[in-house]
């Protein structure tokens, strides 16, 4: 385990990613202390440029952009992680079942997966949020629903190659049940690609959430980076700071998560290990 961390952190871009991500996490945790109170609160004059009082300026209604970014970090990270977790869990179970049992079950599950994959994911997410009415839960559900199919296909592929391995056959000859074989024998051997796919999915989920919020489909009671950009886009030329700082926040967070994901991939994938050596 320590060897794994050493290998992971030796990768410089992964280390940078971890630092950035820790920074965003810290910002989210400290948001209620640094910027107490409701981030929707009108804190000062409207469209005030960045100054010592308002680090990133204020928006068209006089809300503090810095406070919004700190509170938005909570929303983005929370929705990103929860939605990815749900998607990975669903995708893993469906992919595992399809890959392990094969035959008709596989056909059925993969056709369903394909139906989901044929619908453009962002449009599908908009549709779902519109139907479910905007709230944190519905955004999480929408993102999870459009994100699981790739995981299911990945896990299915891993299971297809694993289930013919002899140790799986040995487990069957010992009288092990299918459920135990799936979760105790095969799954531990497929975790690396799932972890990598899941970590990269967090970045996509944050982008999706920002996109939805930008279109006004986020939870109206929760501050979000996408909402800030949406609210500031009409004043982009007169008050550039309203859009720019939330945009940079999204950029850095997504970049950090991608770097971490790539680092995990290099550290977990033994075939690529030699490249970094």
């Amino acid at each position: 385990m320590t060897a794994f961390f050493a290998r992971f952190l030796r990768n410089r871009s992964a280390a940078v990613g971890v630092l950035l991500l820790l920074g965003v996490l810290l910002l989210a945790i400290l948001a209620p202390i640094l910027f107490p109170g409701d981030p929707f609160r009108l804190a000062g004059p409207t469209m005030e440029p960045p100054s010592p009082d308002f680090l990133f300026g204020t928006d068209t209604l006089g809300r503090d952009v810095a406070a919004a970014i700190a509170h938005g970090a909570v929303t983005s990270l929370m929705i990103g992680f929860v939605a990815s977790l749900v998607a990975v869990l669903c995708g893993t179970v469906l992919g595992a079942v399809a890959g392990y049992f094969g035959g008709r079950i596989d056909d059925l599950l993969m056709r369903i997966t394909e139906i989901f994959q044929t619908i453009p994911s962002f449009i599908f997410a908009i549709l779902l949020v519109a139907i479910l009415s905007p709230s944190v839960q519905s955004v999480v559900i929408a993102i999870a629903v459009v994100s699981w199919p790739p995981v299911a296909r990945l896990v299915r592929g891993e299971f297809l190659s694993m289930k013919s391995r002899e140790f799986v056959q040995a487990a069957r000859t010992l009288g092990m049940s299918d459920g135990r074989i799936i979760f105790m024998q095969i799954l531990p051997n497929c975790l690396s690609p799932i972890i990598v796919a899941g970590s990269l999915m967090v970045a996509t989920a944050i982008l999706l959430e920002s996109g939805l919020a930008f279109l006004g489909l986020g939870d109206p009671n929760v501050m979000s980076w996408g909402f800030m950009i949406g609210a500031g886009r009409s004043v982009l030329r007169s008050a550039w700071w309203v859009c720019t700082f939330p945009g940079i926040a999204i950029l850095l967070t997504v970049l950090a998560i991608n770097l971490v994901g790539e680092g995990l991939n290099d550290a977990l994938n033994p075939r690529l290990r030699e490249r970094s050596a």
Partner: protein, 548 residues
């Protein structure tokens, strides 16, 4: 055989060192090997895995997987020219035209997207100025020389359309096309069936004699050496152990290591028949059949059918070992998996003490599985890399309801039984060698105290000396625990060591079935006779027996 000692060598290797990355088990893959290859001779380099024999081939070809693995000392001279000092461009010019190589696995050594004709033609295009028509004539000729039927058809075939033996012939044609002075063959017949192997060995010998080529033939198999070698070099751990004329090494080995390797070659004399008491039947298979269908999508379409096992009957008695022998595709592994119910049969019954194992429902099967256990072929794939050895062995017992303390105690006893240290239980599979892993696999199978052991090519992935040990272990355990065994193998010699009864399979059907001694003394079926005639070095093996 040309009198090799009179001609000057075409290839001289002097004190060659190939170093390995730091931090490994050893510093050198090859440590100070000196060898000569003369024209018109076959020099066999024999060794077990890790002996550095394949590194020799790569070093000569200039194909060492650098930057950490490189020739750190010594000399390789080809017709007087120093190869280790040669430029990459010079090496490219030599490779293929003057020194050619034949690989182990023709399916991966050939490009799947190019026809055989294009691939051989490419060699000519790169190395010669011949025009298109001349090149084509040359390719057709060479395909004829390696006895490929209908060269014109083979020319436009893709590698996957040929059989394994045909692919290896095409590889040999490609190696021969520019009349190289030296051919390096790295285990060229290891991936082939025994009957195909016999043909390919014959072919290599024939083309070598016709062209007076020098051949370095790398193999792990002393019986292949006996079949083909003029001179033999035995390697161990990167050093040369013994070098000499084939007859000398094979019949009068000097070094203990060579003697041990030769002694480990399984003999063709069947083990003495066990007392022919009519003991009770443990397992009976009646009319087992399985057909695999592939292709055909959601809406049907083209389906292909392979009749893997057809109407097989089999009776296994207590304490008896039946050897199921056949080449790849004969259905022997499918039969094993049908019996143990890893694959569901289309038709037929498997009676375990009179109860049809195949009719049981999923829950009943799980509880009956302990009666019949399996040892698998690949020691690297058959153990879950995520679990410690103790857990792997105990798992079956825990599943069947043994209390944890009992299971732990039994794991220790089993480790003793298969000859492994008790501390092994706390280690992961990757820390063990192939032979040790196979012992772990046997311990796992024995953990459930089975009546029947199915061994599917359980020793074919192992080095010959380890193979002999594992075979002895299996035979010993069988006798001690009075187990019945189904022993699946492609190797008649191995079957002779452990089996009371031999079943020969071909294309899913049993063609011969009888006591080992009878089958060996007087095979009835043509195919069985063909199998016997294909065993490499069989006259030497028989001769070796008489010496002992």
């Amino acid at each position: 055989m040309g009198d090799a000692t009179k001609t000057s060598p075409i290839l001289e290797i002097r004190d060659l060192h190939v170093s390995l990355p730091a931090g490994g088990d050893r510093r050198h893959a090859i440590a100070g090997v000196s060898l000569d290859l003369h024209e018109d001779e076959i020099l066999c380099i024999v060794g077990e895995s890790g002996s550095g024999k394949s590194m020799m081939a790569r070093a000569i070809m200039g194909l060492l997987p650098g930057p950490q693995v490189f020739a750190s000392g010594g000399e390789i001279r080809f017709e007087g020219e120093a190869l280790l000092a040669a430029s990459e461009a010079r090496l490219r010019a030599l490779r293929g035209s003057r020194i050619a190589m034949i690989f182990q696995e023709p399916m991966t050594a050939l490009n799947p997207l190019m026809t055989i004709g294009e691939q051989i033609d490419e060699v000519l295009r790169i190395h010669t100025d011949m025009d298109r028509a001349a090149r084509r004539r040359r390719v057709v000729d060479i395909l004829g020389d390696v006895h490929l039927p209908e060269p014109e058809t083979i020319l436009s075939a893709y590698p996957h359309q040929l059989s394994g033996g045909q692919r290896q012939r095409a590889m040999i044609a490609m190696a021969l096309i520019l009349e190289p002075r030296v051919i390096i063959a790295d285990e060229p017949t290891t991936a082939l069936d025994v009957t195909t192997q016999a043909q390919i060995l014959q072919l290599i010998k024939e083309v070598q004699r016709n062209r007076q080529t020098g051949v370095i033939f790398i193999t792990h198999d002393f019986s292949v050496v006996a079949e083909i070698a003029d001179r033999v070099a035995v390697m161990q751990g990167g050093s040369l152990v013994e070098l000499g004329q084939a007859a000398d090494i094979l019949d009068r080995p000097q070094q203990p290591y060579t003697k041990a390797l030769i002694a480990a070659v399984p003999s063709l004399v069947p083990r003495p028949a066990t007392a022919a008491v009519r003991r009770d039947e443990v397992l009976q298979a009646i009319g087992l059949s399985k057909t695999f269908t592939s292709g055909g999508g959601l809406f049907g379409g083209n389906k292909r059918e392979v009749k893997a096992v057809q109407n097989v009957d089999l009776t296994l008695r207590r304490g008896e070992t039946i050897g199921i022998v056949g080449e790849s595709g004969s259905g022997k592994s499918t039969l094993a998996r049908l019996v143990i119910r890893l694959i569901e049969a289309d038709r037929g019954e498997v009676l375990l003490h009179g109860v049809d194992f195949l009719k049981l429902n999923a829950r009943q099967v799980r509880s009956q599985r302990k009666r019949i256990q399996m040892v698998f072929q690949d020691p690297f794939a058959s153990l879950n890399p995520r679990y410690k050895v103790g857990h792997i062995i105990a798992e079956g017992m825990l599943l069947q309801g043994t209390p944890k303390a009992d299971a732990t105690r039994q794991v220790n006893e089993l480790l003793d039984l298969v000859g492994l240290d008790r501390k092994s239980a706390e280690r992961f599979p990757h820390e063990f060698s192939g032979g040790q892993r196979q012992r772990i696999g046997i311990a796992r199978a024995l953990a459930l105290d089975p009546e029947i052991l199915v061994a599917d090519e359980a020793v074919s992935a192992l080095d010959v000396s380890v193979q002999a040990q594992v075979l002895r272990l299996l035979a010993d355990i069988r006798d001690r625990l009075n187990l019945s065994m189904l022993f699946i193998t492609h190797d008649l010699c191995v079957a002779a060591q452990v089996c009371d009864h031999i079943v020969v399979m071909r294309r899913g059907e049993i063609v011969e079935n009888g006591p080992t001694a009878e089958v060996f003394a007087a095979p009835k079926h043509d195919y069985t006779r063909a199998l016997f005639n294909s065993i490499p070095g069989r006259s030497w093996i028989a001769h070796k027996e008489s010496l002992l």
